[in-house]
């Protein structure tokens, strides 16, 4: 039995907004009661369309965003407070993040060497230690030692993402959050970076929280996946099981849209969802998905289903399964 590395309990993240002359208080419910459990050494894939709250979740885990409600535990310790403030409970280096855009996640004015050294500098390492570790890291991510003396603008997107990865693993973290880390790259480069992430995971026993909207990439990377819709996790389970046999109507629609070669042979039905994802300011009453669901029932309009275990390790929030 693997032990849990990250646990989130009922995480809510609401951003208040004030509108108009009467300042009517509304709030964007980016996350609305997310429970999550990530096990040591696993890759947890998080999928969902834009605005479903994936990145907010990543920011909460990374300690960049304080949740409105709920607690985050890292190996049983509460780490809900923001990272750079009250970080007593957590060794800072334990959770690191690789961002989406390698063009904005590294400072254009700094040398590659300085960028990779930064976490060590913050952790208070000496100069020679930093230099040695930087060289090691460059080699680990497949860059030459000379790269340390170059500037970001001299590198390609893939190389920059390697730099960002080197920086993230510099202090030997346990959990690495990859927030759309490959979606800004070309497909061929994506594959290289994914392989690099894979190799690093084996070598250092890393746990990944892997966020993406590309279902193919997530399938390749993840052991467990969670599907997000409007700030909630609607389905969770082992990756292959979810892909082979999606239960939630939303997951079904997503999976049916993955372009495959078999698709033509089996003449699989494509489920095209109607309409847009509703605004997170005005969440639909009842089930979040009922406005677009092809299997809508009476109960869906009134009661929001809870995430419930339907099989061993398989959770779905849908009235069809209760």
């Amino acid at each position: 039995m693997k032990s849990s590395i990250l646990t989130m309990e009922n995480i809510k993240c609401h951003f208040p907004i004030e509108r108009g002359i009467f300042k009517t208080k509304q709030s964007v419910k980016a996350l609305d009661g997310v429970d999550l459990n990530i096990y040591e050494g696993d890759t947890f894939g998080l999928v969902g369309e834009s605005g479903s709250g994936k990145s907010t979740l990543a920011r909460v885990v990374a300690g960049l965003q304080r949740p409105t409600n709920g607690r985050v535990f890292f190996r049983g310790k509460d780490i809900t407070p923001l990272r750079n403030q009250e970080s007593k409970a957590l060794k800072i280096s334990d959770i690191q993040m690789v961002f989406q855009d390698p063009y904005s996640s590294i400072d254009p004015r700094m040398l590659i060497g300085e960028i990779i050294e930064e976490p060590m500098l913050i952790a208070g390492w000496g100069k020679s230690e930093r230099k040695k570790r930087t060289e090691e890291l460059l080699e680990l991510v497949g860059l030459s030692k000379e790269a340390a003396k170059r500037y970001p603008h001299e590198m390609s997107g893939g190389q920059r993402q390697r730099v960002a990865i080197a920086r993230a693993i510099a202090l030997k973290p346990k959990l690495v959050i990859c927030d759309e880390s490959v979606s800004a790259l070309d497909v061929s480069i994506q594959a290289q970076i994914l392989n690099l992430l894979d190799d690093l995971q084996t070598e250092f026993n890393l746990t990944y929280l892997f966020i993406a909207h590309d279902l193919g990439v997530v399938r390749h990377m993840s052991d467990v996946i969670g599907i997000m819709y409007l700030g909630e996790i609607v389905e969770k389970g082992m990756t292959e099981e979810v892909y082979q046999n999606p239960l939630h109507p939303y997951t079904k629609a997503l999976v049916s849209m993955i372009p495959t070669i078999e698709h033509r042979i089996h003449n699989r039905e494509r489920i095209v969802l109607k309409g847009e994802i509703p605004s997170p300011m005005k969440l639909p009453k009842g089930c979040r998905f009922h406005t677009r669901c092809p299997y809508k029932m009476k109960i869906c309009e009134d009661i929001n289903p809870k995430l419930q275990e339907v099989e061993e390790g398989r959770l779905v929030s849908c009235h069809l399964f209760n």
Binding site: G63, L64, I106, D107, P108, P119, Y151
Partner: protein, 283 residues
Amino acid sequence: MYALTKHPGFWSIFTGGLVVLILILSAVFAPIIATHPPDQQVLSDRLLPVSWAEGGSAAHILGTDTLGRDIFSRILYGARISLTVGLAAAIGAGIIGTTFGLISGFYGGKIDYIVQKIVEVFQSFPFLLLAISIMAISGQSLGILILVLILQRWVEYCRVVRGETLSLKSREYVQAAKTMGAKNYFAIIRHILPNSVAPVIIIATYSLASSIITESSLSFLGMGVPPHIPTWGSMLSEGRDYMYAAPWLSIIPGICIFVTVIAVNLLGDGVRDWFDPSIRGRS
């Protein structure tokens, strides 16, 4: 390694720096270089044109003013006040404005609100009234004059740096520094300040020039330096009455201000290019 001269910004720094250096040296060594005492009046030699023009005298290289004072010597002595005032005001206001801009933009919320309200008060308050009140309370001196100019100028830096900071603080590399556990001041000094330095240099060059001019209008109202001490600004405004009869009275100090501004501008541009990695390596 490549030659230093190929480094971007080298020639700008070299040219601008050389001119600024010459200006500063001539101000420092004014007593040695000057051909006449700056306040010596020879009324029989009034309004002599520059020495190479018709009617010019070799004794007065750049001619004389309405009271027969030697313009060349007055320019040299004037450089002392004008350069001190200009540089001190630009640098002092730059430091204060940039600091508050960084704090205001980075921390946001109540701090931002308070700092920006103070900025608005400074912007809406008539500057001359402020200057007069301060001078009335504390008396005249060069230090007070510089202080008044700093009070006038810091708001521009503050506004611009705040704006830059607002956009920079949400950049992912600043976020990344935070996930690495960086304290706020670390992120500000290491990432935000270096990336917002370009507009600061531009404001500094502009604010240097306008401080030299503002000094003259304050002196004109009797609130700057006493009238017998020459400054470029005051020479410029004194010459205005004789624009048709003796244009060199204003043109010469005007050229001096112009050259200073161009030189500082070049220097600033060069410094910015020197430290901007993205144009390094291009020739």
